[in-house]
Amino acid sequence: MSKKAIQWLYGELPRLVAQGILTPDTDAKLRAHYGPMEPARPARLAVIIFGVLGALLIGAGLILVLAHNWDELSRPVRAGLSFLPLVLAQGLAAWVMFNRPQSLAWREGVGGLLFLMIGASISLVAQTYNISGDLPRFILTWSLLGLPLIYLLNAVVPALLYLWGITEWACHIRWDDGWAGAYWLLAALLLPLIVSWLRADRFQPRLTLLFWALCVSVTVAAGVTIERVLPGLWIMLYAGLFALMFLAGEFWFSAAEGFWSRPLRHFGAAGVLVLTFLFTFEWPWKEIGWHYWYWDRFQKAGWHAITDGVLGSVVPIAALLLLVMTIRRKTPLGLLFGLAPILATAGYSLCSLSETYAPAAGLFDLYLLVMGLWLLVTGIRLGRQGQMNVGLLAITALIIARFFDTDLSFLLRGLIFIALGVAFLVANIVMLRRKGAKHEQA
């Protein structure tokens, strides 16, 4: 049973005993069965959040004060001062590590501060010596110097900053027409942290936060690390990636409650829906497949295509394996979203072989419609308003998109829009009433 449910139960127990529904003996047995409940400590969370915010603000302030390029000071003095924020933050980090190792607020705060001060210190030196240099190299150096803080302080804030750093680096490298495949090795350096946190408590909020950041980072990185030697590879890669996220969320984190505590499931589901919507158009299916293979790119740096091969195969295959495991568990939603990479591969093969785009786009029209209807119907049946609205939204998006492809009269378009609006309103009102009725009954 989840912590929230136990907390609710413990809140109810005294009343139930007072009303004679439960005996004190049963009460004691129930408490013994579910174990002691850690009291919710909102104050502690507030201390952590404000601690981190405070540290980041102080860090940013120090950067701004020192970024003020004092012409009056001599160059060696400015160079020496460049170390000041770094040394101060290092001193504070040492104090926290050995005197406040138990305090999450201190560890997170000082981790964020020191991470920022590494960048500040290098920037100040760069400013003193007019080094305009190489932005990606600067970001990479900064991120790698900050990486050990994640493990030394066992903190998530430096991990988030590190993820930002390596993602930014990959984007810059891609922008300069370089190979950003090393992103995956850099991201893998976070694996020991993730594994140890998964073992300790896979529902802990810090891990959830890291997963949200990872979802965003990996989604960006998948796009900038494929070399586009094989046009259209992104179709299968992204379908596999989002399905993998969704299925992993369903498979290992289904006990988590609430929207924000299920990053993999919700990010993956949003990804699959948006991707499916894009695939209902014909443009993603044009000029893809072996016929359009970029020989010149392949010849220029063939080994760059290794990332394509690895990502393009490992991600969809992993998604398929999870799908098989999901089928055994008989979760229909998992089956539905897990189909995305199979359909994407089918559409891709169809377009590469036949050079017609309509069947692939049509396939995804149907897929989006089925997903939308399923979410709508199950949402209504299970009383999940969010799920119902996502289903309605998917269907609406599909109908609007197909509108612009066809020459329907304004009158007909207007009527369909009105009908969709009414459907939204009615469904939500009915759902709210039903919830209200249930609440009153309870």
Partner: protein, 187 residues
């Protein structure tokens, strides 16, 4: 080794690495500024509206192209080394481009742009394109520069110290005066 000592050792190594990077940047630049050969680079006429932006001045160094016998073989955005020489007026010229760093000659890393039909490879100087100033002085400089130079042909140059393949921007001159002196004189 117990956990505390292990942590202490790890932290010491990390701290040393974090300090070493800025320290090395400083040492390398100071060494170049002390031992390097001075080159004067003209800067291209800068659009006054764009000359001083934020906390630094964008510089467009000249020469911005190099005559090469095989100009067409240089592709866009390739790394190269511009071997430096000096013209009769004492300004820097790029005598040729090399793909590898030439030994025993002053050469600065550049990026190739495009090659034209006259056999020139156009280049940019990515490490030498900013001169930092305070956020107060940069806008003041912009105004002064604009008023002072309306319709006149201003002369601007920078001094760069070069040691091997390491180049460090030393100073920015307007009409033969260091920029800070020129600004003071203009106020």
């Amino acid at each position: 080794m117990n956990k505390r000592n292990f942590l202490l050792l790890g932290f010491a190594v990390v701290v040393a690495a974090q300090l070493a990077v800025p320290a090395w940047l400083i040492i390398e630049r100071e060494w170049t500024l002390r031992e390097g050969q001075v080159f004067k680079f003209k800067t291209r006429p800068i659009d006054p509206a764009d000359a001083f932006r934020g906390r630094y001045v964008w510089l467009g160094l000249e020469p911005d192209k190099v005559k090469m016998p095989n100009a067409q073989q240089w592709l866009y955005n390739q790394k190269a080394f511009a071997v430096l020489g000096t013209d009769s007026n004492g300004f820097a010229v790029a005598t040729r481009l090399e793909r590898e760093r030439p030994r025993g000659e002053a050469a600065v890393p550049v990026r190739t742009r495009w090659s034209d039909t006259n056999g020139h490879v156009h280049i940019s100087w990515p490490g030498l394109d900013r001169y930092y100033m305070t956020e107060k002085k940069a806008p003041a400089a912009e105004t002064a520069y604009r008023e002072h130079n309306r319709g006149t042909n201003r002369s601007c140059h920078v001094t760069v110290r070069v040691l091997g393949a390491r180049a460090v921007l030393e100073n920015l001159f307007i009409e033969e005066q260091p920029i800070l002196d020129w600004l003071k004189a203009g106020q």
